[in-house]
């Protein structure tokens, strides 16, 4: 007995749908992230191209915020927050990536260079109750999970701030800052030229 329903290879169809989903989903997410970023950063004075926010964020801008091109704010369990108080300046360079739960707060000046990476729960604030001093993060810096950068700190280019560190003094270029309070050691000591 033959079935009257035309035989369709159901697994094959599902597989095709899966493949289609794999192609379409990231693009849809990307488009949504770009639109969300346009909305979230509507009060930002200088906004680069292709700024994407993949999750909810808290943005409060009473000063001047300047965002570079191709920034990425990843969404996650906690929203990231960008706060710029009156008269303050918050600058972020091109191609910088932020994971979820990052908090940037500027009372005077916070400046982040290009191609930096900020992991989840990183905190940067240029006022700590006693003093207010500008924070400068140079290019290609990687700040790992849960690190806190205190006011008046300058982190040099290509440096790494290790997970859970509290940085209280300047970090020279090509240096690993680690611990509480953070100490600087040469990256030569802990990493070869390529890879880890």
């Amino acid at each position: 007995m033959t079935s009257r329903i035309p035989s369709v290879a159901l697994p094959a169809v599902l597989e095709q749908l899966q493949a289609l989903r794999k192609v379409v989903q990231p693009r849809a997410l990307r488009a949504m992230a770009l639109a969300r970023a346009r909305w979230l950063f509507r009060s930002v004075q200088l906004r680069g191209h292709n700024v994407a926010a993949y999750g909810p964020m808290a943005v409060q801008n009473d000063g001047i915020i300047a965002l570079g091109d191709r920034l990425t704010f990843v969404g996650g369990m906690m929203p990231s927050s960008l706060v710029c108080h009156p008269g303050a300046r918050l600058t972020i360079g091109d191609d910088t990536q932020f994971n979820y739960g990052v908090s940037l707060e500027a009372w005077e000046s916070v400046s982040v260079g290009a191609r930096c990476m900020f992991a989840s729960f990183v905190r940067l604030g240029d006022r700590d109750g006693q003093r207010t001093a500008p924070i400068v993060i140079e290019d290609d810096v990687w700040v790992a999970h849960g690190a806190i950068i205190m006011p008046g700190v300058r982190v040099g280019a290509r440096s790494v701030v290790a997970a859970g560190s509290i940085v209280t003094q300047d970090v020279p270029p090509d240096t690993l800052a680690m611990g509480n309070p953070a100490r600087n050691m040469s990256l030569e000591l802990v990493a070869r030229e390529t890879g880890t």
């Binding site: 990687w142 859970g164 390529t194 890879g195």
Partner: protein, 182 residues
């Protein structure tokens, strides 16, 4: 009088918890799921008996990133809100262990310290043995092995083996107290 009613509600709670954990490959008896629990990734997540996932404070994230990555929570493990386990290779949590709020457990650093930041360094399997207590906001980096019954103070950063029964704290981790022998 109330017994059938109670047992029915317990049954329903159990079914609800199982539905919440449907992306796990193995679920033990009597799981408890509160608040938000996110189970992501293509890998395997295996839960033992009587696991408690309390995501009321913030979501709990169990992320087995690659197809061959593995997260195992043993019997009676309790995880508090905001804890995030990210496995590229394997994370094993032994029976009776407790993971505090907002602790981060990762078996891969995801970026090399120098050179091309976009290539992944190799993973090191991460082991948390039986009866370990991990404080809130602790960070367990690749290479961590917490041996039986040791405890980790809040905010500690660890990337090495911690012997059994020892209390460690600080960043980087220092031994705060050794258990008295016997």
């Amino acid at each position: 009088m109330t017994t059938p009613h109670r047992s029915l509600s317990r049954e329903l709670e159990g079914l609800w918890a199982r539905w919440r954990l449907r992306r796990c490959q193995r679920i033990g008896a009597a799981p408890t799921v509160l608040g938000r629990v996110w189970i992501h990734g293509d890998g395997q997540v295996q839960l033992g008996d009587r696991v408690v996932l309390d995501g009321r404070l913030a979501p709990i994230e169990l992320h087995a990133m690659a197809a061959d990555s593995l997260i195992v929570l043993g019997d009676d493990v309790a995880v508090e809100g905001g804890a995030s386990l990210e496995a590229l290779q394997s994370i094993r949590v032994g029976p009776g262990a407790r993971l505090g709020a907002f602790c981060k457990v990762m078996d891969n650093q995801h970026h090399p310290l120098r050179g091309n930041r976009h290539e992944r360094p190799p993973s090191v399997p991460l082991v948390i043995e039986a009866g370990v207590t991990v404080g809130s906001r602790a960070i367990l980096l690749p290479g961590t092995q917490l041996q039986k019954g040791c405890s980790v103070a809040p905010g500690t950063v660890i990337s090495r083996r911690i012997p059994a029964g020892v209390t460690v704290g600080g960043a980087p981790a220092r031994v705060l107290r050794r258990e008295v022998a016997g």
